[in-house]
Symmetry: D2
Subunit: 381 residues, 4 copies
């Protein structure tokens, strides 16, 4: 364990903090092949980067992200910036031979995402995209049960990612609501991408899509006394077919009153069903079709040391796991991927699928028709 | 209250029993403008009709439903038979000047449903369709809150009606799985119709639809040692737009492992959200957007005497209301409609809308496109 | 089934209505050895008894309960009056050779309850006390699982019966709050008696008790512009030992803000646990200790036709059962007991045990010590 | 922030790991007056202490805890060892002028706990006892609401701490089951102490107690092929009076099948109720008595940045907080207490109250009577 992996993080905001907490924690939680070092933090606001670098324990700081990428000590670059910046930063990082963790969504569209994956593969570096909810031990348990055939063949998936941080029509506009900064897809890209990635993880790739989205509040305060247009959707609904033949629905909203972290999924198989709700993140509801009629019902499995990764945090079942713990698992995966030269999931390439589904949903909405993922894949070539 | 209303029920099975229980109960529960009389029960199996007529307290019985319809004492005919029989029976009843309660779905398709509504209106009789879940005091409370603007403007509806009575691939075929007896729509007609009616009740009419459905188990035991084809869908998904502009999704399944009475709805407004699950039928979950951030969250309102109709059953909040109580409310509505010459809801005409949505979903699936309800309405003329 | 059983009900209030609904319903729900007849209703308020007798379908009515008891047509007398009247009415009824259903609590104290049981046994009539929650199919399922050893040996019972109908300090005084009319025990007698009966049903007799109770609001409006003293407890707590050796706790309150029908029980065995909450009355939560660590958790069993009595109400699991349905089961038990000359549960004798536990709790509180049930039993002799 | 606080941890097991994770995390989460340094780890097993010190990032390690206490660099000693060792270690630490965090329960009995508090106060050092569940933002919110009078005057408290880690009768004996190592109190000391501390925190001191406890499995495998006696209780029940006059019940078990982290509390006030369950640790259920009858019910408040401490971990409500996050809050409290020379809660002195309640419960059980806390306090003098 004398090996170390040096991390540079671009962006000292929400996710930059989460990554820093996780990197400070991960070595005490998990046995690691190499210890992470908090090398350098980049943020364009001098006061912020100085204060945060100190608080998080970074060795160095910079207001110029290119310095971070060019820093020879850095092994892994973490891109925790608004979406429109991902492509340039990630490409520069892989060009400099760095491994990259990039926040979700990977890019503004599938074309850019695909180019990023190409660049990373050409450079031979490891990549990961921050779909953290799939790292939850409960999600890993769901995956394990599905893979083991415990619920039979998957026939239906229903996923949601509903929040209400924009339910107030007077909440100000931000980069997330602008096409140029966050894409033509709003909740569809920012939130649905999480549950599309989860669908992919649990049920395999999606084959075709029909969708519709809406902007509920057309304009919002621009923070300068005026109003600015909202340029992407507040809520969206998709029907999907998986390549496996299973049917599914996906829903996302940023104006869903009362839903704070409403990432939920119900996976129906021919022999059972799984249900999960991120607002009760340390449990999985399971229905086993083999139980007799008089003794059947959904079972609330509290996650514990008998399930993936939990026992490294705590030896007591049901004692609880939190948001930052999922990020810690992500960092473990990245470290082990880099140190062990193993595959990391979800890579940029894996995330292209999510981007394709988002793009297919946009096209479906524009053209009011079913859109095959294959159609978009062909266009990428 | 010396006035009485004489009921004839066709079909001594599941729903015939439920109606009989309710008619025996309703006068003790509600103040009524007229007392119901259990006049005559019809069922083609002699032993069954004899035993059941006695048990339920009918004055007369018959194995020939036409005798019931021609019985001059009968005021109201209840049609509790498989779907394909509804049209003939209901038309005969209205032709004989009887008021009619018909089980859902009203008919095999919107065209027939519309003809039934025309016939009833021409005859000047009252009609009702047995969408009993909308009679739940919790649903009435939801309607009341929406109408009063308590959750603002409706922007999203998600409804499901999932059960698992056919999850076993070796469960035998029945009339419900046959196109000629139950329509080309399976779960879409048998189950989704309930939640479509609820959507209509709570959010107004649906304007257009995209849908897909699947048969999971293509054949089943025919009960004679062989196999018979399953001719309509096991599961279905719709995206809908309401005439109001709200977006919605609807899902139904008869193979959804673990869901026993999974009629759920979540109605999102600009200022709050309602959530209901029929498996916890005596409560409504409410989120009020006006609560301060530190004191907000979904509130579990247990239904009680402060809400519609509950107090007639029981004076204690949360003491519980059951399936048959909803049927009792239905019977009260029918009796008061007939005795008071007031409108009854949902009438045959109201139910045509549900049938149109089902037909639009079938066409959407066949033609892989969005289908407007207006398109089908035009064709009916 | 030409046999009939003629019922006379004393008291046209809350429970009188519930019994009437149930008697009107029971023959359509259950196959019966004899059909009930609503013979005569007694209530001292002329207008009330007239209106209610008509609404409920009674053949006769009276303002003098002794007329009812002396009515030769009456087979079963139902006593639905305030507690202080039970003893006189029930004794008169059994003296007249009538079978008796009496509302809970059976009497003001164990001595009177015992005298009532003696009188009934001497008269050779059937008796039942209205502990309706024990008739819930979910409670029957709990009993069935315990008896079958599915949770091993019972080691702990925790029961509550919490409501909040008196949380408002300005709610007026009523007979329930007066020692002479309802006993020295308030919530302890009115509410805890339900959960004590349930404890007895599920875990066997209680052997000794320590308890404490409190009056929270010492006086209340007397309805005449003044204040009246509250003479019995608003909340109570007991620790009990069962004869089996199991430990338990019992709690009741009529001022428990937010609990509307908070009858809950958790029965812990050496191999599993059952949990029930009357506010979700159609389900039982079960933990099976034999499940493997990675697949264990409480299972929510929705009550259905695979469980006792439910299928007679409805063929669909989870479709729901309500308060009045439990009363219907009670009436079925009474009818079958009388018609079939079978034992009825809980009889007056069974209810003496509940009364003894209440009296022991009162004495424990007064003398600040553990009190054995045997001590009180000895004094009764 | 150039100030640092140097920690020495005795015990590299469960809690030693939790403390280490927290100390590695706390500076990234909270703004701090001083940064913690992981100075030295002590554990008597050489291999363990070497591996763990490396993994957790300690500068030094030792197999002799006295070296740690005598290390001049160490500012704070954390005692994470079995209960019987707490007194000697903590006294040695305070004698060396160190601040001390000690795991719960503080000592084998109230006399020893009191002596520890005396020693610490004499030495003028800061102390804290690891009742981590009271650090949960949800518990802090409960405290805040109670203090603000949001639920009126407290009239009832019901608390449980149920787990099932010893439900298997063949689970081997451990130090926790031995009187000399863990006290005559089993679940009463190990588990109930958590909920007694919580009761103290939320409702003030307890005045008197009646209790009973049981050993369910009298002997267990001794790990050497034989059997060893279990010397303290598996389950316990208390009724308590608070000094305020409120009534309460407390229950704990280590054999409660299915309860994994069943620390629950329900605090009833004259104007509302709070309910919490650690198995759903990031939410608080609240009933406000001021809501109108038709719009009342328990509200599920998901903990978020509007509540104490949560926002430092994550900006999204309902995104989740875990067990280790509570420990991080504990460490923040200790650091700020030491660095800022502010009071730390719960101190050794605060924890003497919990120890007195445990001792009173033991005496109540032995003598089958109510025992006043004052009686035991007098004996300590």
């Amino acid at each position: 364990m004398s090996k170390t992996i040096n991390f540079g993080i671009i962006g000292a905001g929400y996710m930059g903090k989460a990554y820093s907490i996780a990197l400070n924690t991960v070595a005490s939680v998990f046995p690691l092949s190499a210890n992470p070092v908090l090398g350098i933090l980049a943020d364009e606001i001098p006061d912020v980067v100085e204060a945060k670098a100190k608080a998080y324990g970074f060795q160095r700081r910079t207001t110029n992200w290119r310095d971070l990428i060019n820093d020879p000590a850095v092994d892994v670059v973490a891109v925790c910036t608004p979406t429109f910046l991902h492509e340039e930063m990630a490409k520069a990082a892989v060009a400099a031979g760095k491994h990259v963790i990039c926040e979700k969504p990977l890019s503004l569209n599938a074309r850019n995402a695909s180019a990023m994956a190409d660049a990373a593969e050409k450079a031979g570096v490891k990549t990961m995209v921050g779909y953290c909810y799939a790292k939850n031990p409960a999600a890993q348990l769901a995956k394990e049960m599905i893979t083991a055939g415990e619920i039979g063949d998957i026939i239906h998936f229903r996923g949601t990612h509903n929040e209400d941080f924009l339910m107030d029509p007077e909440a100000p506009v931000s980069w997330r609501l602008k096409e140029a900064l966050a894409s033509k897809a709003g909740a569809l890209s920012d939130l649905a991408s999480h549950i599309i990635n989860m669908a992919h993880y649990l049920c395999g790739p999606i084959a075709d899509v029909v969708a519709d989205s809406q902007i509920i509040h057309k304009s919002r305060p621009d923070g300068k006394g005026g109003r600015a247009a909202v340029e992407n959707d507040d809520q969206t609904n998709l029907i999907v077919h998986f390549a496996s033949g299973a049917l599914g629905s996906i829903e996302a909203s940023r104006v869903a009153a009362g839903r704070k972290m409403g990432l939920t999924y119900e996976v129906v198989g021919t022999r059972g069903t799984l249900y999960f709700d991120q607002e009760a993140m340390a449990e999985l509801q399971v229905y086993k079709g083999s139980d007799p009629a008089a003794r059947c019902g959904f079972q609330r499995i509290l996650i514990g040391p008998a399930h993936p990764d939990y026992g490294s945090f705590c030896l007591g079942t049901g004692h609880g796991i939190g948001y930052n713990d999922m990020i810690t698992i992500e960092m473990r995966d990245m470290i082990e991927g880099v140190a062990g030269n193993r595959a990391v999931w979800p890579s940029f390439r894996d995330a292209v699928h999510t981007a394709l589904v988002v793009d297919a949903a946009l096209r479906s909405q524009a053209e009011r028709r079913w859109v095959g993922i294959g159609e978009l894949e062909t266009e990428l070539k």
